[in-house]
């Protein structure tokens, strides 16, 4: 980065540290923080959508749809996250490739399973083996987002389902008395009111999601945990910046990073809670009403 860093072995003290902390590898470490934030920003809304869909399905009057909603929540919630994270990306990847294989290479005469090997025709590979590395990485990231969304969507579905049931029956009765149809009452009364009941559960999920991001590392994505371990390991003179085992300091930095993330989210969530309590028939809403008087 700096011109003075060209020969690290001649540096000492602060100058060495400056160069060390701005090496190409450290830059990748810093940018991996962005990967974690990106994962959170993409996954949260998708998981919320999955959760909403799952909750609506579980409440549906149409039996197969209700089965689907219930099966989704109980199945995903009953399996350890880590197994799901290992299973979903591999299964999805092979599933996608198999489908593409069926469509694109119908004249392929060899079996897809050859002993241990999963072999599809080159045109069906996902991503194509000729595509550059960043496409492979994006694809891996996409699979990770999908796995996270499915798992956290199931938890969110359960929370939202509970929140929908928590909306006082009197509210729905009033809506019916006004002559609203089922759909209208759902859209105008139930959904706007349920958020305050769902929020404690959802904010919990958000915290768990933040803390679950190191699972990315399991999926082969080079996130901050990967880089912290890689950078912290002791380095011999094959490297430009030899140093002993520094994993402790790197993991300490991770600890601070995650604490920072959760404390900021806690503050934001508190504001959202206050905002949503406004005018609600809950304890929080009641307190707001009294304070305003």
């Amino acid at each position: 980065m700096f011109a003075s860093c060209a020969d690290p072995s001649s540096l000492e003290g602060l100058g060495w540290l400056m160069c060390y902390l701005t090496s190409g590898k450290h830059m990748l470490f810093y940018s991996s923080i962005g990967i974690v934030l990106l994962l959170l920003l993409i996954t949260a809304p998708i998981a919320l959508a999955f959760g909403f869909g799952g909750a609506v399905a579980a409440r549906s009057h149409f039996l197969p749809l209700r089965w689907f909603g219930k099966a989704y929540t109980s199945m995903v919630r009953g399996v350890p996250d880590i197994i799901f994270f290992l299973f979903v990306p591999i299964a999805m990847d092979q599933g996608f490739e198999w489908l593409r294989h069926k469509v694109k290479c119908s004249d392929w005469d060899q079996p897809v399973w050859q002993g241990n090997d999963f072999v599809v025709c080159p045109a069906a590979k996902l991503p194509l083996s000729t595509s550059p590395q960043w496409i492979h990485e994006t694809y891996g990231f996409f699979l990770a987002v999908l796995a996270f969304s499915i798992v956290f969507g199931a938890f969110a579905a359960n929370v939202i389902h509970g929140a929908m049931n928590a909306v006082p029956r009197a509210q729905m009765e009033t809506a019916e008395a006004y002559g609203m149809s089922h759909r209208q009452a759902f859209r105008r009364i139930l959904v706007p009111q349920m958020w305050i009941y769902a929020l404690p559960g959802l904010s919990n999920l958000w915290m768990i999601l933040i803390k679950a991001t190191p699972l990315l590392f399991l999926l082969g994505i080079r996130d901050i945990v990967y880089w912290a371990r890689e950078l912290g390991g002791s380095k011999t003179s094959h490297f430009d910046y030899p140093h002993p085992d520094w994993r402790l300091y790197y993991f300490l930095a991770l600890l601070v990073f995650y604490l920072l993330m959760t404390s900021v989210s806690e503050r934001v969530l508190r504001r959202i809670t206050a905002r949503l309590s406004h005018g609600q028939a809950t304890l929080g809403g009641e307190q707001q009403r009294k304070a305003a008087r």
Partner: protein, 240 residues
């Protein structure tokens, strides 16, 4: 066999027609000097230099990817990359799942490193990386095996006293022992295990295996492989 050959030839033909092949080279990136991530964040080491030279000779375009050691074989088999070039010794167990090219490093010694030369290697606790030939050897030696996912952690375990000794490829441990300032020393005798290190490929990839075999042979024949081994592992390293 004949059917396989025609299929391979057909594959070669179609692949050659459509595009110049890109081969994804899978490595661990945590085993200096064999392979490691250098300070610029790129794969570096003996195997990087070797792999690039092999690809040049075979006229392939190669791309480097890293993968955890633990899942390096399953991910090769499921097609995430096309070769394993990660200091992997050729063993019968691995040969059942994947195929190896001829070795590019002759069967080299494994060694114990410990805090003192008289560490208990037969009854004590010995650290080794998971799913390596060294781990298998320790398990059979009577010592208590302590497994770690990365090579670096096996050395750290000895340093902080969790293990009495670490057992690994001598070429990996040599620079660590030399630079530890006397903290780590060799213990016991060197052990000869494994059949040398080769490039791992899928069993169905017979064509790729032949290509790499040919390239490795040509490097053996003109002596450039020996020169490269000496460059990375020192003048005393075993050569062909």
């Amino acid at each position: 066999m004949k059917k396989l050959l025609t299929a391979a030839a057909l594959l070669a033909l179609t692949a050659g027609l459509s595009q110049a092949q890109t081969i994804r080279m899978g490595t661990e990136g945590a085993y200096p000097p064999y392979n490691f991530i250098n300070d610029a964040g790129e794969v570096d080491g003996f195997e990087r230099e070797l792999g690039d030279e092999l690809c040049k000779r075979a006229e392939l375009t190669c791309e480097w990817v890293t993968n955890e050691w633990d899942s390096i074989i399953p991910n090769l088999v499921s097609g995430n990359y096309d070769t394993i070039i990660a200091g992997m010794s050729i063993t019968d167990e691995r040969d059942k799942v994947i195929d190896f090219t001829q070795n590019y490093i002759p069967p080299a010694a494994s060694a114990y490193a410990a805090l003192s030369a008289d560490a208990d290697l037969k009854g004590g606790v010995v650290a080794a990386q998971t799913a390596t030939i060294q781990a298998g050897y320790v398990a059979e030696s009577g010592a208590t095996l302590l497994e770690y996912p990365t090579p670096d952690e096996t050395v750290a375990a000895v340093r902080n006293g969790e293990a009495d000794a670490v057992f690994a490829d001598k070429d990996f441990l040599a620079p660590i022992v030399a630079e530890s300032g006397g903290e780590l020393v060799w213990a016991g005798q060197d052990v000869q295990i494994g059949g040398g290190i080769g490039v791992g490929v899928r069993e169905s990839d017979t064509e790729l295996k032949a290509t790499f075999d040919k390239a490795i042979q040509s490097m053996k024949d003109d002596g450039s492989l020996n020169a490269m081994i000496k460059k990375w592992f020192g003048e005393d390293a075993l050569v062909f």
